[in-house]
Structures are given as C-alpha cells and as structure tokens.
Amino acid sequence: MKKRSGLSWLGLCLGLVYFFLPLLATFLFSLHGKKGVLSFAAYERVFADPQFLKTFGFSLEMAVFTVLAGLALIVPTAIWIQLKVPKAKPLIEVLALMPFVIPPIILAFGLIRSYSKPPFALVSSPALLVAGYVIIAFPYIYRSVDAGLRAMDLRGLSEAAQSLGAGWPSLLFRVVLPNLRTALLSAVFLTFAIVIGELTLAVLLAWPAFGPYMALVGRDLAYEPAALAILSFAMTWGSIGLIQAISRGSPGQRSSLGGTH
C-alpha cells in the first residue's frame, strides 16, 4: 500500500515537471528581453505595441458576440432536446463532433464560397466571422450545458415549476439558468479562450484578430512571443480561478465544473 502511494507520488511529480518545465523555461526566456539582465522588457514592448491592444480588443469584441450568439442558440436547443426530443440527442452529439472532424480551413473556404456572392454577400461582415466562431465553439458550449442539465434533473424541476404556475420564461430564467450558472460560466470562458487564440478563420477572412497577430509576432520576434504565451496562460488560469470562485459563492449549488473534455 505504502509502496503504491509512493509510486503514485512519483508519477504525479513527473507529470508536474513535464508540464511546468517548458512553462518555466518560456517564462525565464521571456525575461531576457534586455541583454544581460532579467527584466520585463519584453512584456513592456508587447504592451507598448498598438497592434497588441488593437487586435486583442477586436478579438475580445468577437468573443463577446460569439458568446452571446452561441448561448442564445445552443442553450435553449440543449434544454429543448433534453426535455422534448431526447431521441435527437445522438444527432446533436454527431453534429458536436463535426467541428473537430472538419478542419477550420475547410470551414473557412466553405464560408467564403457560400457567402461571397448575392444573396448572401456576407464575406466582408464580421457577422460571418462570428458565425464561424459559433460553429467552432458549439461543441464546447453544448457539452458544458448538457453536463449542467444532466446534473440537475431538468425534467423534475421543470414539471415542479410548471405545476406551480410557471410558464416557459419563468422556468428558464428563474429555475434552469440559475442552476446552470457554473456550466454557463465554463462555456463562456472556453469560448473566450478559443476565439481569442483562433488563427485560421481570422486569417482567411482577413480580420485583424489576436491570433494572426500572435503568429506574426512569433515569426518576427524572439522574446515577445514568449511573453505573449505567458500572458495568455495567466489569462486562462485567471479565468478558471474565477469560475471556481463564483461557483463556490453560490451555496445552493453543488460545485461541478461541467465536464467539457
């Protein structure tokens, strides 16, 4: 028993080293922005670049729209399927795999070919980019929401609410969504993370997004990409910490991060 627990500790340590060593190396490398001394010079240069804020701001904006559109589309659908047409679940499961099966480059060319001429001349509108992002984010949003719905006895709660006089709006806003809070938060953060770093769609649809900017910086510079990588890690971890903090703040809920992967 003791031996086994020793082995598992060893396994854990190896795992942590494997994971953190490159991160540490990147971090240390990013501190060499000024020759001979350790400094945050690379970070200063990143923040000083007007392109950084511009592209980041653009991607952030796209992320907000993607989240709004994605949730508005997918949450009611997931609830409806769970309640009314559970038979359609396998179909949705297959659809949710599609964004993984179809490479983004195919998606991008498909979007361009379909929507570049009337009656759907949308190719110069950011709406098309958002639409593409919704497709890419769909599996993550759907899985989070589905896990959240399954954790809460949707049928029982909706019947209880209906017997107490609640119609669909009350049911949705007073019962279902408050109980989905953790799942929705994780869907939101995952979508943000995906959209902020997305490269292919942004490049092919020619938008000045954060993904292409990072690729550009990575090609031309040495220390700044390392600094950007560390920054994006910090943002992701900050988001996860935020989910935990918020979900712990609601005493009525069993803390469960929607299983998304």
Binding site: G156, E159, Q162, N179
Partner: protein, 366 residues
C-alpha cells in the same frame, strides 16, 4: 357533481396502451389513492390529471371544466414528486414562495403565506437552508408546503414516500393525512404500497393493466376484494387447490381432507377448484379445519406466522403474538380452523395471476 372526473381516459405511448378507458369520480375534499404494481398506469393517470401527459382519448374535468388540453401551469394543481424536485438554487423559504411569486401576489401576502406554511410543516427554523442541507423527509415536507402554498384546487402526490426510510415514511404519511384533513383539499395519491394506501385514504382504487380493478373504502377493498387480483395484491393470501366433493353442501377436499365452504357451490363433484384464505382467517383448532405439520414459525413483531404443510402445500396462518399462548413447535401437527365464510372459492383458471404470486411465496416457504 363530482369535483374531479375522468371520462373514458385512454393514453397510448406509440402502440402501447397504458391507460385503457379509465373512468373515475372524485368528490371534493376526498383522499383517493391509486394503488397498483409497476406498469399498471397509475402514475400515467396522475400525470394526465396534472397535465404533463395529454390523454389520447377521453376527457378530464375539474370542477365541471374540461382541462384535458389545458397546460399544466394553468391547471392550478399542487404536485409532489417522488424525488422532491426542490429548486436547488433556492432556500426553503424561496422554494415555498415560488408559486406565489409566479402568480404575482403582493410581497407582504407572500411572506405571510410562507410563514403559515413553514408552521404547518414545523420547519420554521429551516427557512434559510438550501435543499441539499436537509434530510429526505424534510425536503419532502418542503415540497408539500410548496405545493399547498398556492392554494391549489387539488393536491397530486406521486409516490411521495418511496424514497424515504421506513420510520420517516410512516410519520410523514400521518402528517400528510393530518394536513389534508385540516385543509380539506381534494387529494390524489399514487403508491405501490398497499399499507400506505389503506391507512391514508378515504377510497382506494386498485389498478391493473390500465384500468381500475376495484374502487372502494380501505375496509371494503381488504375484506371484500372484488376480483382475485385485488385479493392477492392486498395483504397476503393463501391459494389452495381443492376438489369439489359435494357442491350442494359446499364441501371440498384439500389433499384428502374435507372442509366446508358453508354454501352451495356452482361446480360438479370432482371438479378442480381453488380456495383463497387470508392467513389471519385461521385459528388453531375449531370444527372446520385443515390439518398439517408446522414447517416454519416466523415472528413478524406483533404477529406470529405459522407456515403449515397441508398435503405437501405451504399454508400461512397468522395469530397475535400473545405471550400467554403456547406457540406450536416446528414438526408439530396442528389443526388450522377457519370459518366457512372466510373461504373464497373460485375456479383455478379465474385466478392465474393470483396463483402465480402466491405459489412463488409457497415455494420459498416450503
């Protein structure tokens, strides 16, 4: 005019007919139970009354109005579920207030009503707790209060006690009955537990295969079962194969022993028959008896059950656990006396299901 009326209600799921033309009248203030095994259609019937299922045919009337196609949230019926279905994101107080808020009552009125409900279920000190901080019994009491708070036209309970421990079940059962009496609310209660149904109801509807097999007061159901199924489903029943000896005199033979059923039997001499006798109908000794050797003595608390082998067949006989009386030992030969009128005689083929149920038990005990 009945308060709640079901007229020839049918419900099919695909090709499978679950409720097959069920008709029923429930008076205002009455406590009625649907009792039956799984798949008998009792829950489906309740869910049609609640509005969660739409009848395939027939109609449901409440207070004279047809509600068959009315949405569940417009029926004003209180519902209590087996798994409580409390809103996990709300405290006890907010759970109870939910229906009142939806109907747009004044804040002060809601507060007053919720306090009233908390007092009714004796849970005032738990008002600020969340459902997951309560025991199952407490959660179900909150669910009951939540359903009653909206002053529903009728209260519907779907196996509300089956997820609870035996002791809490009995306590909560009595609480439900007390509250129902106090408020005089028409109540429909679904259960598979015969003791629950008999102890709590004004009337019991025993259901089988999507129809009501018998409906009546608990005493009537138990003492005068209308069909062999009801007889077997309610309480324990011995089914004993017998042969008609002298049908005019009512005498039959069980494994060579002649016993009197006390009335003229519509059968030919030598015809195979089936006797149904409740275990508590037997006494030790008496003029009209079956003799056998004791195979087992089971103590069931206040009752002692003797399993007696009569002509190779296990027959159960119950008596009070009276310390002043000697209990026969295993292997001893006893005479099981029975009053002629306590014997129900039928043809074996009239009770195929009954025979099945009790035979299984007989094998276990023999």
């Amino acid at each position: 005019m009945p308060f709640l009326e079901l007229r020839e209600v049918v419900k099919s799921f695909g090709r499978h007919e679950v409720v097959k033309g069920l008709s029923l009248d429930v008076e205002e203030g009455e406590f009625l139970s649907f009792l039956g095994g799984s798949g008998c259609g009792k829950t489906t019937t309740l869910r049609m009354i609640a509005g969660f299922e739409t009848p395939t045919a027939g109609s449901i009337l409440i207070d004279g109005g047809d509600v068959s196609r009315v949405q569940p949230n417009r029926r004003n019926l209180g519902m209590v579920f087996q798994n409580y279905a409390l809103f996990p994101n709300m405290t006890v107080r907010r759970n109870i207030a939910f229906g009142l808020k939806i109907s747009g009552r004044k804040r002060s009125e809601i507060e007053r009503r919720v306090d009233e409900m908390l007092e009714l279920i004796h849970m005032g000190e738990f008002a600020a707790r969340y459902p997951h901080q309560l025991s199952g019994g407490q959660q179900q009491r909150v669910a009951l209060a939540r359903a009653i708070a909206i002053e529903p036209r009728a209260l519907l309970l779907d196996e509300p006690l089956s997820a609870l421990d035996a002791k809490i079940r009995v306590k909560l059962r009595d609480d439900i009955r007390d509250i129902q009496r106090k408020l005089g609310i028409t109540t429909i209660y679904v259960t598979h537990d015969q003791e629950e149904a008999l102890s709590i109801s004004d009337r019991v509807a025993v259901m089988k295969d999507g129809l009501i097999e018998q409906i009546g007061a608990p005493f009537e159901i138990y003492n005068r079962p209308a069909t062999p199924y009801v007889a077997a489903f309610i309480g324990t029943l011995n089914i004993i194969p017998a042969t008609a000896i002298d049908p005019a005199a009512g005498s039959v033979a069980v494994g060579g022993q002649v016993i009197s059923a006390g009335r003229r039997l519509d059968a030919k001499p030598g015809e195979e028959l089936s006797l149904s006798i409740r275990p508590e109908a037997f006494t030790l000794g008496g003029a009209n008896f079956l003799e056998g050797s004791v195979a087992k003595v089971k103590l069931l608390g206040s009752i002692v059950r003797l399993v007696v082998s009569v002509g190779g067949r296990a027959v159960s006989a119950d008596g009070f656990n009276d310390p002043s009386r000697r209990i026969p030992a295993v292997g001893e030969t006893v005479r099981l006396g029975v009053a002629a009128e306590a014997i129900v005689v039928s043809r074996p083929e009239e009770a195929p299901l009954v025979a099945q149920v009790v035979e299984a038990e007989g094998v276990d005990e023999a």
